[in-house]
């Protein structure tokens, strides 16, 4: 019988990917509700027992540590075959993957091999009262609504974007079991050979840590006017974010995209200019300190969600705001 709530504990080349601890907090919550256990599936190179212990201190009851030198690198094919083997031996009721580069490469392969349902980019989970079903919540396609999705197969699998759940709290007194899952050279065989890892030269736009996010949508009208957001972002020492349509129009690169298939932000101050507020975008904004929307339409979803809704034309409001903030900066310099 399928038992336990499992997570993929992601080896990121030099340690655990921090998203592993976010998955742990949600897995812990689900397991407590189900009166079940949290299991961390952890393929990694040898010698990472201390990382396995960290998983336990953050909420795992069991760590299935599958160690092999080949797992220093992420090998899509070998990792998925291994996970399939692990799941067949120890089938969890639920399996959560991070929607990271590795997680998105791996989870669909596992689903394909095991003929399982898989729900991408979930933003919340509930447990069905009668039948212990995992209700997976994500923005629905084609509609400006959320969908509740279930899987008819087990484990019920879903991916979760980094930044959606809080990081699990560490409890030094927590105890759990580290089980070594044997890995043969055959298990680690791969059609891929990593020659070189190139870390990002300049960090790509990291919106997730920005204290101030200045985001824009199609309502800004043109690529040139959209670029004004950079001026405002600089004044506020923030970063520029964008909706998906704007990225597809080529006004800005996808690195700036906030939402389902973009980044998750949780700034002290979020500005949305000319953004209607499709759920696809809104799910990427978590617990903003203050949310300000500027739009001509007070009925737009973002205007309803915002703490401060400015009814007005972005083409007037944005340049005025920039000018006013510049004046204020000038004053404080003189003072």
């Amino acid at each position: 019988m399928a038992e336990g709530v499992a997570i993929f504990a992601e080896w990121a080349g030099d340690g655990l990917h921090p998203v592993s601890f976010e998955l742990l907090s949600e897995a812990r919550r689900l397991a407590d509700e189900l009166e079940s256990k949290v299991k961390a599936f952890f393929p990694a190179p040898p010698g990472q027992e201390s990382q396995a212990e960290a998983l336990i201190r953050h909420g795992a009851d069991e760590v299935l540590y599958a160690s092999h030198p080949a797992f220093e690198n992420f090998l899509d094919d070998a990792a998925s075959r291994l996970l399939v083997k692990m799941i067949r031996e120890d089938t969890p009721e639920i399996f959560l993957f991070p929607a990271t580069a590795r997680g998105q490469a791996l989870a669909p392969r596992v689903a394909g091999y095991l003929r399982l349902g898989l729900t991408a980019h979930c933003i919340a989970f509930e447990i069905g009262k009668e039948d212990r079903t995992l209700i997976q919540i994500r923005p629905s396609f084609g509609e400006n609504v959320m969908a509740k999705i279930i899987s008819l197969t087990k484990p019920q699998m879903a991916t979760v974007r980094p930044g959606v759940f809080p990081k699990a709290k560490e409890d030094p007194a927590r105890r759990g079991e580290i089980k070594k899952f044997p890995v043969s050279d055959e298990d680690a065989r791969s059609a891929l050979k990593v020659l070189e890892r190139r870390p990002k030269a300049a960090p790509k736009v990291d919106l997730s840590r920005a204290k101030v996010v200045v985001a824009g949508g199609r309502g800004l009208g043109t690529k040139e006017f959209f670029a004004k957001l950079f001026e405002l972002a600089e004044l506020l020492e923030g970063a520029v974010g964008a909706t998906r349509p704007v990225c597809h129009l080529g006004w800005i690169s996808e690195d700036h995209m906030i939402g389902v298939s973009g980044q998750t932000v949780s700034p002290r101050l979020y500005f949305g200019f000319g953004i209607s507020g499709a759920v696809h975008h809104l799910v990427g904004i978590r617990n903003p300190g203050l949310m300000v929307a500027v739009n001509t339409d007070p009925e737009a979803p973002l205007m309803k969600k915002a703490d401060v809704a400015v009814v007005g034309d972005v083409r007037e409001v944005l340049p005025l705001l920039i000018r006013r903030l510049k004046e204020l900066k000038g004053e404080s310099h003189e003072a």
Binding site: A101, A105, R109, R115, F141, L192, H248, G312, L320
Partner: protein, 260 residues
Amino acid sequence: MRFMVCLKPVPEPGTVRVDPETHTLKRESATLILNPADRYALEAAVELKEKTGAEVVAVMMGPPNAAPLLKEAYACGADEVYLLSDRAFAGADTLATSYVLSLAAQKLGAFDLIFCGKVSIDGETAQVGPELAAWLDWPSVIWVKELSPVEGGFEVVRVTDEGEERLVAKTPILFTIEPESNDPRPPSVKRLLEMLEKDVPTLTAEDLGADPARLGLEGSPTRVLDVFTPTYEGKKELLEGAAEEVVEKLVSILKERGLI
């Protein structure tokens, strides 16, 4: 060599309707366009064909009215195009979709490479590519931005969360192509005219020898239970009036909150 490119018809944003019963897309009601990310997959395959002399086969699962998109794919450099179309495919989730594509890959092969787009603009799951590879028991690499033939396989550069990785991959293998990693060519008018009078060959569930239990909604392990509109509590401050006034009010709120 022989390459397969998987293309997806997607509803043009704003034209989509949803079946109120199953909450799946009513694709036949929408204006269909080629999924934007798939253009980079097609271009990557065609560029590699020009270097290596391979054949490029474009396949698309979709309703009959998606056929013109395959004519466009032909005009953009595909050598053969096939529409996978059957009422039995309707309501498929990613597992049931990748199953049908895997049957096409086996029927139309033998392929050395399969190319997919990174993600679709409708479902946005990015799952079909790697799931298809698993159905075929092939390796896969996602988010590939550079690709060149080497002895025994291909050297690829993939995008990772930490930066990039350069690796060598043995064939057969499936790649999903990073958008903006190439410059998709416009359709050739000459090749468009060539297709004008021709029908796009269609393969049905029967042609593909599909297991009916694996198709469409029936073959999909995920179900949409319900949809709901998120509600937002209304404790907001509404600023209205002349632009100068609202900006002034806004600035004072930001000051009060210590944000500027």
